[in-house]
C-alpha cells in the first residue's frame, strides 16, 4: 500500500438547521481498500457521501484526496478529481446508447467533429466485458433493466478513471446473481488500487466485501474496525448505541385483542409485500418500519388506493376495504400524509387555509360558492390547535418550515374527519423541536380515538411515541410487538442484521 492514503477525511462537520448531520468525522481509506459504511437512517451516511462528492461543502474540516487537500468543489468537479458515485437511482441519459452514456463528453472523434462509432463501441464493449455483461453497446439505456443501468453507470465511472468509487446501496435493485457479479467487480477494482466506499443496509454484503467497517451514529464515527474483528450483532449494537430509556417514557399499550381492529391487513401480498398481516386499533399508534424498499411505502400506497393487493384482504372496521384511488380512501375515512409534503401533499402556491380546506370544499361552501369566512374559521381552528407557525392563514404554504408543512397536512386530514391516519416519514427533515411536537400531535390523535399508522425508516424515532412496532424486511413482517416490550437494537437487528424472527 502507498504511503499517503487515497482519501482522508479530516474532522469534517456539517450542520443543517436544527440538526448536526456530521460531527467531527474523520475517515481514512487506502487505495485498494473496500470500506463498509453503515449506520441507521439519519446517522449521516448520505450527508457524508454528499460532502465527499461536493454536493454539500463541509462547515469545517477538510477532505484530502491522494495527498492533496481539495477545497470547495462542485459535484461536476468530483468526476475530474477521480471521485465517482453510483446511487440507487443512477443518472444516465435514457435516449442515448450505452456507448454514448459511458463515453459521454469523451467520445473518440475524427478531427473533433464526427464520432468514430466503431471505435467508441469497441471501448464500451471492452468495459462491459469486465462485468461479464452481454449488452449491445448501441442499445438505448432506456431499454435496459435497472440493474443493467446501474452497471452501465459503474462502467462510466471506470472509464473516467475513478480512483475512488462510492457505491450507495448498490444492490437495492439487483437480484442475487447480479449482486454476485457486482461483488466480483468490486474485488477486481480493489486489485487495481481503486478505493471503494460501500454504503449499505445489508450487513451480510458489507461483511463479505469490506476490509474495514465504519459505523456512524448521530453524525459521529462510533467505530472503525477490520471486518474480521467484528460480528454482525456487534455492528448492530454499535449502530443502535445503548439507549434503553425510550420504553420507560410511554405507558404500556392496553390489551385490545377483543375489539374489531380499525385497520386490518389479512395476509396481503403485492409485487413487494409477501403475506403481510397486522392490525391497527382505534386509539392506537402503530409504527411500521423497515429499511428503504422493505415495503413500508407499499403499504401506504395500498391503503390509499394507489395499488391493489394481489392476494389477501384489507379490512377497515371489519369491512372489506379496497379503494380505487385516494378519493375513495378519503371517503372511507383514511388519510395519507405523504413522505414529501411539498412534492406530494401540498399545493405550495396556495395558502394555509386553502390547503387545509382543499379536500372537502363543499363543507366550506354556501350555495355552491366558497365562503371566505368559513374557510378562515376552519383553518384558524387547526392553525391554533396544532400550533402551526404561519404569519396568517393566508400565507402560502411554501413559506412554511418542513415541520409546519407536516402539520398543515395533519390539519387537512382532521378537516375531513379521517378516522385512520397514515403518516409516512413524518419527522424526516424536521428539527428536534418540531419532531417532539409531531410526536405529541400523533399521540393526541390516538387519544381522541383515531387509529394512526406511522410508516418510518427511523426506528429510534418511532420507538419514542408508538404503541406497537411492526417491522418489515424484504416485504415480510418480521416483528409485531408492543413497543414497551422491545428495544431499538433488537428491531434494527431484525431489519438489517442476522437476527431471524421467532417463527
Amino acid at each position: 500500500m502507498p504511503d499517503a492514503p487515497l482519501l482522508r477525511i479530516d474532522h469534517v462537520s456539517k450542520r443543517f438547521p436544527g440538526v448536526q448531520a456530521l460531527d467531527d468525522v474523520s475517515l481514512v481509506v487506502d487505495a485498494g481498500e473496500v470500506r463498509g459504511l453503515v449506520g441507521q437512517n439519519g446517522a449521516g451516511k448520505s450527508t457524508l457521501v454528499k460532502c465527499i462528492t461536493g454536493v454539500h461543502p463541509p462547515d469545517s474540516g477538510r477532505i484530502v484526496l491522494g495527498g492533496e487537500p481539495i477545497g470547495t468543489y462542485l459535484p461536476k468537479h468530483a468526476y475530474e478529481l477521480g471521485i465517482a458515485v453510483v446511487h440507487q437511482r443512477t443518472q444516465l441519459i435514457p435516449w442515448l446508447s450505452v456507448t454514448e452514456n459511458v463515453l459521454l463528453g469523451q467520445l473518440p472523434t475524427f478531427g473533433g467533429a464526427i464520432v468514430r462509432r466503431g471505435e467508441a463501441n469497441r471501448i464500451a464493449r471492452e468495459l462491459l466485458e469486465r462485468f461479464r455483461l452481454d449488452i449491445d453497446p448501441e442499445t438505448p439505456v432506456a431499454r435496459l433493466a435497472p440493474p443493467e443501468r446501474q452497471q452501465v453507470a459503474i462502467a462510466r465511472a471506470l472509464f473516467r478513471r475513478a480512483r475512488f468509487l462510492i457505491l450507495d446501496e448498490p444492490t437495492a435493485s439487483l437480484d442475487a446473481a447480479r449482486a454476485a457479479r457486482l461483488f466480483e467487480l468490486v474485488r477486481d477494482l480493489q486489485r487495481e488500487g481503486v478505493g471503494v466506499l460501500y454504503v449499505s443496509h445489508h450487513l451480510e454484503e458489507v461483511f463479505s466485501l469490506a476490509d474495514r467497517i465504519t459505523v456512524l451514529r448521530d453524525g459521529r464515527v462510533v467505530a472503525t474496525r477490520p471486518a474480521a474483528e467484528l460480528s454482525q450483532s456487534e455492528v448492530v449494537t454499535l449502530m443502535a448505541g445503548r439507549r434503553l430509556e425510550a420504553a420507560a417514557a410511554r405507558s404500556a399499550a392496553p390489551a385490545r385483542a377483543a375489539e374489531a381492529a380499525a385497520l386490518e391487513l389479512d395476509h396481503v401480498s403485492t409485487d413487494v409485500l409477501h403475506d403481510v398481516a397486522f392490525a391497527v386499533h382505534d386509539g392506537e399508534v402503530v409504527g411500521l418500519t423497515g429499511v428503504v424498499g422493505a415495503g413500508g411505502h407499499d403499504v401506504a400506497r395500498l391503503l390509499f388506493g394507489l395499488e391493489r393487493p394481489l392476494a389477501g384482504e384489507v379490512r377497515l372496521a371489519g369491512e372489506r376495504y379496497r379503494p380505487h384511488g385516494p378519493k375513495e380512501a378519503i371517503a372511507a375515512g383514511v388519510f395519507l400524509v405523504p413522505e414529501d409534503p411539498t412534492r406530494d401533499g401540498l399545493v405550495p402556491a396556495l395558502s394555509v387555509a386553502h390547503n387545509i380546506t382543499l379536500v372537502d370544499l363543499a363543507s366550506v361552501s354556501r350555495l355552491g360558492l366558497l365562503s371566505r369566512r368559513l374557510e378562515q374559521a376552519v383553518a384558524g381552528r387547526y392553525v391554533r390547535d396544532l400550533s402551526i407557525a404561519a404569519a396568517s392563514v393566508d400565507t402560502p404554504v411554501r413559506n412554511l418550515s418542513g415541520g409546519n408543512q407536516q402539520k398543515v397536512l395533519v390539519a387537512k386530514a382532521l378537516a375531513v374527519g379521517a378516522r385512520l391516519l397514515v403518516l409516512e416519514e413524518p419527522t424526516q427533515g424536521v428539527d428536534v423541536h418540531a419532531t417532539a411536537e409531531i410526536h405529541r400531535i400523533v399521540r393526541g390523535l390516538a387519544e381522541e380515538g383515531r387509529g394512526v399508522l406511522v410508516i418510518s425508516t427511523d426506528v429510534r424515532d418511532l420507538l419514542e411515541f408508538v404503541d406497537r412496532v411492526v417491522a418489515l424486511r424484504g416485504g415480510r413482517v418480521v416483528e409485531d410487538v408492543a413497543a414497551a416490550e422491545t428495544d431499538y437494537a433488537r428491531i434494527l437487528d431484525l431489519m438489517v442484521g442476522s437476527l431471524q424472527a421467532a417463527a
Binding site: F304, G325, P326, K327, A329, I330, A331, L336, P338, R343, D344, G345, L346, V347, P348, A349, L350, H354, L358, V359, L361, A362, S365, G368, L369, L370, Q376, A377, G380, R381, Y382, R384, D385, L386, D394, K412, L414, H439, R440, I441, R443, G444, L445, E447, E448, F465
Partner: protein
C-alpha cells in the same frame, strides 16, 4: 404528552378576532402585489406620451375604439387564463372561434332562426372544448400537442365547410354586436361587444375566486399530485374547464362575427397565441397555479393600448407584432424578478 388541544369542541372556540373594517381594508391592500400592476403602469405611460403627441388620442371615441377592438380577444383570454391556472392551455381557440361563426353563419344563410343558429354555433364550439378536455384528461398527454392537433383539424374542417369563401351576412348578430349602446347613462354609448366581455370577466373572476371548481383548478395547476392525493377528481375537473373554454370560444365567435359581420376560417387568426400572451403578460403563470382574471385582463388592456398607440404614432401594423413580442419577453422577466 396527554393534553394536546385537538379539535373536538368547535362550539368552545373563540370567535375569530374582530378586525375594524378599516384595518381589514388596509390588511387586504397590503396583500395586493404592487408589481402585478405593472401593465397598468406601462399603459398609463403610453397613454400619457401618446396624448401629448396627438390631440385626437385622448377622446372617448378612441377609448371606445380600443375597447371594441380588444373585447373578443378579452373573452377568450379569460378562458385561457382559467386553463393556464390549471396548467392547461388551448391552442385550438382560433379555428374553434371560426368554426362557431361558420356554423352560425351558414345556418343564418339557410334561413334558420337566429336563436337556433346561435345555439348550434356555440354548441359546436362547446363540443370541441369537451373533446379537448376528454383527450387531455384521458391521455395525460400535454395539452399543447392535443389542442395543436385539434387546431389543425379544425382548420381543415372550417375551410371545408365554407369552401374558403366567407359568409358575409350575420343578420341579427350584426344588429346585436355591430354597433354601440345608447349614448345616455348607464350605457354611455359603449360598444355593444363590451357587454359580453364585462360579463365574462365577472364570471371568470367569480369562478376562480369563489367556486370549488376554480379552487380545484389552482390546486391541479399548483401540484397535480397533491391534488390527486387530496381526492380531487382530476379528469372531471379538466373536462369541465376545457368545456367551459369551448363555451367561451363559442361566445367569442358570435361576438366577433357579429361585430365585423363576417364568418370565415381566418376570423380569429392568432387568437390562440395572443390570448395566451395577454394572460401571461398580466402575470398568469404559463405552468399553472398562479394568476387570475383581473391580472389577465390587464394584459388584454395593455395589448389594446399598445396596438392603438402604434397606429397613432403612424407606424405600420408590423410594429404591433414586434411590440407584442417584446412585451411578452419583458412580462416573463418581470414575473421572474418578482419571485
Amino acid at each position: 404528552m396527554a393534553n394536546v388541544q385537538l379539535p373536538v369542541r368547535p362550539a368552545e372556540q373563540p370567535p375569530p378576532p374582530a378586525e375594524a373594517p378599516r384595518a381589514r381594508v388596509r390588511s387586504r391592500l397590503r396583500n395586493v402585489d404592487v408589481f402585478a400592476l405593472w401593465p397598468v403602469a406601462v399603459m398609463l405611460v403610453i397613454v400619457f406620451v401618446t396624448a401629448l403627441r396627438s390631440e385626437h388620442y385622448f377622446t372617448v371615441f378612441n377609448f371606445e375604439n380600443i375597447l371594441s377592438q380588444v373585447s373578443p380577444l378579452g373573452i377568450v383570454t379569460m378562458g385561457q387564463a382559467i386553463l393556464l391556472v390549471s396548467a392547461g392551455l388551448d391552442l385550438s381557440v382560433g379555428y374553434n372561434i371560426a368554426l362557431s361563426s361558420i356554423v352560425t353563419g351558414l345556418m343564418l344563410e339557410d334561413g334558420y332562426p337566429l336563436w337556433l343558429a346561435i345555439a348550434a354555433g356555440v354548441g359546436a364550439a362547446t363540443a370541441v372544448g369537451f373533446a379537448n378536455g376528454v383527450l387531455v384528461a384521458q391521455n395525460r398527454a400535454h395539452p399543447f400537442i392535443i389542442t395543436l392537433g385539434m387546431s389543425i383539424f379544425l382548420f381543415g374542417l372550417d375551410t371545408q365547410l365554407t369552401g374558403g369563401a366567407p359568409v358575409n351576412d350575420m343578420r341579427g348578430l350584426y344588429t346585436a354586436f355591430g354597433g354601440n349602446l345608447p349614448s345616455y347613462p348607464p350605457f354611455f354609448g359603449l360598444p355593444a361587444v363590451a357587454v359580453p366581455l364585462g360579463a365574462v370577466v365577472v364570471l371568470a373572476y367569480a369562478l376562480l375566486r369563489w367556486t370549488p371548481l376554480g379552487r380545484r383548478a389552482y390546486a391541479i395547476g399548483g401540484n397535480e399530485e397533491a391534488a390527486y392525493l387530496s381526492g380531487i377528481p382530476i379528469k372531471r375537473t379538466k373536462i369541465y374547464l376545457y368545456t367551459l373554454m369551448g363555451a367561451l370560444v363559442g361566445l367569442t365567435g358570435m361576438v366577433l362575427a357579429g361585430q365585423i359581420n363576417e364568418a370565415s376560417f381566418n376570423l380569429a387568426q392568432n387568437f390562440e397565441l395572443e390570448s395566451i400572451a395577454c394572460a401571461v403578460i398580466g402575470g398568469t403563470a404559463l405552468f399553472g397555479g398562479r394568476g387570475g382574471a383581473l391580472r389577465s385582463i390587464q394584459g388584454v388592456a395593455l395589448w389594446g393600448v399598445v396596438q392603438n398607440a402604434i397606429v397613432f404614432a403612424g407606424l405600420s401594423s408590423n410594429y404591433q407584432q414586434m411590440a407584442l413580442g417584446a412585451i411578452i419577453v419583458i412580462a416573463v422577466m418581470v414575473t421572474r424578478a418578482q419571485r
